[in-house]
């Protein structure tokens, strides 16, 4: 099968959907002739011109509101935030309008809008360009929150997002953008709410988010030498969250670790832990464990940053600790 980078695969998905649906247009800073800060729209300007690839000034709240209005009247806008941190300047529009229009119109208006941006601690991006923020969107009713980790999933999920009539937050970890993987030719749609078991195992279940899936797979490989069999689950979409797959895995292993580079409090780990205690209390052989990034703003310094986020070694140790519980 052909190999592609994460970014190329996601862009292929966007291009395919733009070709089929003339209502799709992209708006954001540098999405036109520049092709997007992270190459999200390279080549598309030549095909579709300034009408469907609209560069904007730095006015997040303005273009987010504009796109929300366009979605209300039948277009399918893509808001490209470059860094998802910039969505913080549009949060009032997103939370108060974008997420609620369908509810407030009793379903007479739909909200087909894709909000995308890079996330994660990578490449010394510093305090303003390293956020994850998925718990923020998971917390609000109305949003779909998508966090792909492989090129194939990036393509399959962006295509599903561009056929959805709900607002979708599409988050791409900077550490994954240039990773390569197999992407099948032809139509590729990955459903929302279906987790991927990226490695099967019997001793412990590890749910990992975004870049942490790769790091956890490295740790699982190390632990295999020690005779530990890890099951690694990539939720792929955080809203809707596939609790069933996690529960079934915990039923098998009895132990659950959630690895997430984002801050711990009120995070995805807390949510998964609470849901599993609700649904699988009698399957748990140990307390549910979380491994998160340090609860502090992200520094510029590479050496400081390295100590902030989980890596294969710290994940392996967290798994060993959980097995000793």
């Amino acid at each position: 099968m052909r190999e592609m980078t994460f970014t190329d695969a996601a862009r292929e998905g966007l291009a395919e959907e733009m070709a089929q649906n003339p209502g799709i247009f992209v708006m954001g800073e540098g999405v036109g002739t520049r092709g997007g800060n992270f190459n999200t729209t390279v080549g598309l300007y030549d095909l579709y011109g300034p009408k469907r690839l609209r560069d904007t000034p730095i006015c997040e709240r303005g273009f987010t509101g504009l796109c929300t209005g366009a979605a209300m009247v039948g277009a399918h806008p893509v808001v490209d935030f470059m860094f998802i941190d910039f969505e913080l300047d549009a949060i009032g529009e997103l939370f108060n309008q974008t997420s609620r229009i369908q509810y407030m119109s009793s379903g007479r208006l739909q909200m087909p809008i894709l909000v995308r941006g890079s996330i994660g601690i990578f490449g010394s991006a510093g305090p303003h360009h390293s956020g994850n923020y998925y718990p923020l969107f998971m917390h609000v009713p109305g949003f779909r929150v998508v966090v792909p980790t492989t090129p194939a999933d990036a393509k399959g999920l962006i295509k599903t997002a561009l056929r959805s009539t709900d607002p979708v937050i599409f988050l791409e970890h900077k550490g994954l953008l240039f990773s390569k993987g197999p992407v099948p030719e032809g139509e590729l749609l990955v459903p929302f709410g279906k987790a991927s078991i990226t490695r099967e195992g019997t001793d412990v279940t590890v749910v990992a988010v975004a870049l942490m899936v790769q790091k956890t797979l490295e740790a699982a490989k190390q632990l295999e030498q020690e005779g530990v069999s890890c099951e690694v689950i990539d939720p792929r979409t955080l809203a809707p969250l596939d609790v069933d797959t996690i529960r079934d895995s915990v039923h098998k292993t009895g132990r659950l670790l959630i690895v997430d580079e984002d801050w711990g409090p009120c995070g995805i780990g807390a949510e998964i832990a609470a849901r599993i205690v609700d649904e699988a209390f009698d399957d748990l052989d140990a307390p549910i464990s979380r491994l998160n990034g340090a609860f502090a703003p992200t520094p510029y310094s590479p050496s400081l940053t390295a100590g902030m986020v989980p890596n294969a070694q710290t994940i392996a140790q967290a798994i060993r600790d959980l097995l000793a519980e």
Binding site: G254, D282, D283, D285, A286, A324, E325
Partner: protein, 409 residues
């Protein structure tokens, strides 16, 4: 460290035991192997030895002799010279002992609420993971006495599975009493209901079938045996002994009825060990005759007599009460025709023998005096269906009516 002396579990199904008497006194120095006290369980009295060296300390709140207590109840401590009592024993001094039944002395036992310090419900000291608790329930493991291997001493799934495995191995290696011929998954529907409870006998679904058998031929054989063996020292087999033997042979052909619970599942046993109910002043005791089908009627008769004597002399060992796969009770001598015998868990069925009575019977269209007896089979309907139970009872009747069918085997 203080070593707890507890009511031991002397058999797989033992839940309580009676402390009969202390053979060493409070303050005595004891060595490993010294007999400390005697315990009565299932009507057998056994001596219990010290496992550690130390000075015997029987706390004031220890259950008095004659008291029936739960297995695991702390009866005393073995201390090193000068060692104080462990804290929980001191605390316990103000609590009434864990007493299951207090014969006679019940009037003196402190009633809850009137004691100087009322018992406080304390938080369980043993932690167990929810999963381990669930698995213990499924496998029928009493987890309270396990040692946890979790980081904080918590009992986790592996501890429970190890305990279940150890119990299974202990049962099959040290007591090869029954060999499984078939296990649950191959059984028809009722066999699948295998959720044992802490006291599984509570879940028994007893159903009783009765059938009348013409025992004339068997009575005749019994009379011939009395005649021919009268001059010898040999014990003459009773009518009851003949029934034990033929019943054992019938069980060989109907293994579904010869089934026992073990480690949370039902096993159709290929070995036939029959428990014989014997009346005593203090209740019914059921010693077990092993491998009934392979024994001659004469040696069976000897063994039944010997075990009955032991019952009356209270000399039975716990071993001799264990491992039965089926029970026979005989109330014929009391003039009873039919009754509902009790199933002895972990067994699945019991046969009740009624009196043998001479009545008018019809043979080939002619009314003749014949001996009749009523056989009552009670079985656990969770384990055995009506059909297999009825076929077994029919076989037993046939063997009673035509002894030549099995006497030549």
């Amino acid at each position: 460290m203080a070593f707890e002396v507890v009511m031991p579990r002397l058999g797989w199904t033992m839940e309580t035991g009676t402390l009969v008497e202390w053979l060493r006194r409070d303050g005595d120095s004891v060595e490993p192997g010294d007999v400390l006290f005697t315990v009565e369980s299932d009507k057998a009295v056994q001596e219990i030895e010290a496992l550690e060296r130390g000075i015997l300390h029987v706390p004031p709140d220890s259950p008095p002799p004659g008291t029936e207590v739960e297995v695991g109840t702390v009866l005393a401590y073995l201390l090193r010279p000068g060692e104080p009592l462990p804290r929980q024993a001191q605390d316990a001094a103000s609590r009434p002992p864990k007493v299951a039944v207090v014969p006679e002395a019940s009037a003196e036992a402190p009633k809850p609420g009137t004691a100087a310090a009322p018992a406080m419900p304390s938080r369980p000291t043993t932690a167990i993971s929810p999963r381990a608790r669930r698995v213990a329930r499924e496998l029928g493991v009493a987890w309270e006495s396990l040692t946890g291997s979790g980081r904080t001493g918590r009992i986790v799934e592996r501890d429970v599975r190890r305990a279940a495995e150890a119990a299974r191995v202990a049962e099959t290696s040290t007591r090869p009493l029954v060999e499984p011929v078939a296990k649950e998954p191959t059984m028809p529907a009722p066999w699948a209901i295998t959720q044992p409870r802490s006291k599984p006998s509570h879940g028994t679904v007893p159903v009783t079938l009765t059938a009348t058998a013409d025992a004339t031929e068997l009575v005749r054989i019994h009379e011939q045996l009395i005649e021919s063996l009268a001059s010898r020292a040999q014990a003459v087999p009773t009518y009851n002994d003949l029934l034990i033997k033929l019943c054992g042979l019938a069980l060989l052909e109907h293994q579904r009825v010869n089934a026992v619970w073990r480690s949370g599942e039902i096993i159709a046993a290929s070995d036939v060990h029959i428990a014989i109910e014997v009346e005593t002043e203090s209740g019914v005791v059921a010693p077990v005759i092993r491998d009934v089908p392979s024994k001659s009627i004469l040696s069976l008769a000897d063994e039944v007599r010997e075990l009955t004597q032991k019952v009356h002399g209270a000399q039975l060992k716990p071993d001799e009460l264990q491992g039965g796969t089926f029970t026979i009770a005989n109330l014929g001598e009391y003039g009873i025709d039919a009754f509902t015998p009790t199933i002895n868990w972990p067994q699945s069925a019991a046969l009740g023998l009624g009196r043998v009575v001479e009545k008018a019977g019809v043979r080939d269209g002619v009314i003749l005096p014949r001996y009749h007896t009523v056989l009552s089979l009670t079985f656990d309907h969770r384990v055995v269906d009506g059909g297999p139970a009825a076929r077994f009872l029919d076989s037993v009747c046939e063997y009673v009516e035509k002894p030549s069918l099995w006497l030549v085997r």
